[in-house]
Subunit: 140 residues, 4 copies
């Protein structure tokens, strides 16, 4: 299954369809097997204790997996997140961006399952791990 | 275990410690057994298709469960989310607020487990369900 | 959606198709909204400390939700478990049977989502909670 | 943290404490970072369609992660499973054994988080993925 976008094309497309988040994420890598995305951390992502909020980490996981799916399915993609299970393992510093690595484990006709690990940039111990399931509606 | 806050006191405390989210949530109910919180939906919570984003739903679940824990533990609470598993079941309309009902299933010395269901205001079919675990660090 | 089985019919059908587990479970209730099933605890379900093993609790959750689905879909049911998230909250005694209450939260065309709570018989505090997702393959 | 057991010692210890499962599992590898365990598939693990049951896959995941923890904590280990989230992605054949690879992602003082992937022996596409959390009670 060849990719439908380059990183530049995908970034531009996401800016169009998700104006709310266009300054939050930077797509670093997309391939047949997964994706890597940066969360550009700013004030709205922080919580007390100079750390990054759970919802911000969740949004990075969801975005990263979605980029991998869009890259394969193209603009007609209507995949919706149906499940996410996330473990928060270490408190990230609010001073560093977060990077998520996502691996596609199954790309079925109706379900996609992916795994992601999230790191503070420059650190090797994961801040969080997550698995996400997307449902792809049948083509009409 | 009596509650350490009234709704008014808890709302005020949250405004102090979470300035980022103070206009997003309204605490509707807190009790020994759980909590009910509203997400006041605005543009930043939306995604294409006039629906509410997954991260916004996640933030409501996390906030609702955290309110129930704060209400029991008081200001010294340092509980951190360690796991969340969430199922997104129906697309909420972007026109209605979301309401989460959270039930505490276990309030242990080191772990709290809670269940939440999220509804579009006025609807009886849940938009999402989630379970959340918090870890309470040992007192020094 | 009317039920396709009585409890007696469903029990008999399960005995036919799952000979491995026919002495483990007793169906207590099936309805449009969910199901209730007993795990008849015996030696193979136990683990050290006179408690019941995680896999035995998992099997009860999976069976209970599957009974609710079979009751609605009938013998042609081909639903497969795609996700289960389970929280083990209290150690059950090995002396009492376990009872699972399952509630169907969404019965979609391709995905079913259910929630279950598991109790030691006679106790009000849940031993475990779980959510399960089943995928229903498209009809040919 | 050095390992407290060799594979032979750990296998023998597990036979002593889990007589119910001693013929089901073979420990293939233990290290500081994780473990690899085989489920020796037999009739009781099967379900209709000549495939392996969900509870059998769950038991393999739980056992594999527990081996990694025992190897680090030694005989005094009292770790209990508190959460498991599992995605079933492909139907394994009932003719092949299953192999689980488990990676420890966090080994904290009170919580251990691990990730596992399960394969049919000889196959490269995972049958299931799971994450598991164990709670380690404080030493008295």
């Amino acid at each position: 299954m060849p990719l439908r976008f380059t990183i530049q094309e995908l970034s531009k497309y996401v800016e169009e369809i998700f104006p709310q988040v266009k300054d939050d994420f930077e797509i670093l890598e997309i391939s047949e097997f997964g994706s890597r995305v940066r969360l550009i951390v700013n004030f709205k992502h922080l919580r007390p204790g100079n750390t990054i909020s759970g919802p911000a980490i969740f949004s990075l996981v969801d975005c990263t997996a979605y980029m991998a799916i869009l890259a394969k399915l193209g603009k007609e993609a209507l995949a919706v997140t149906t499940n996410c299970s996330i473990d928060f393992m270490r408190k990230p510093s609010g001073e560093a961006d977060l990077i998520a690595n996502c691996e596609i484990l199954k790309f079925g006709k109706s379900l996609v399952v992916a795994d992601a690990k999230v790191y503070s940039e420059g650190s090797e111990k994961p801040v969080a791990r997550a698995s996400v399931t997307y449902s792809i509606p049948p083509k009409k």
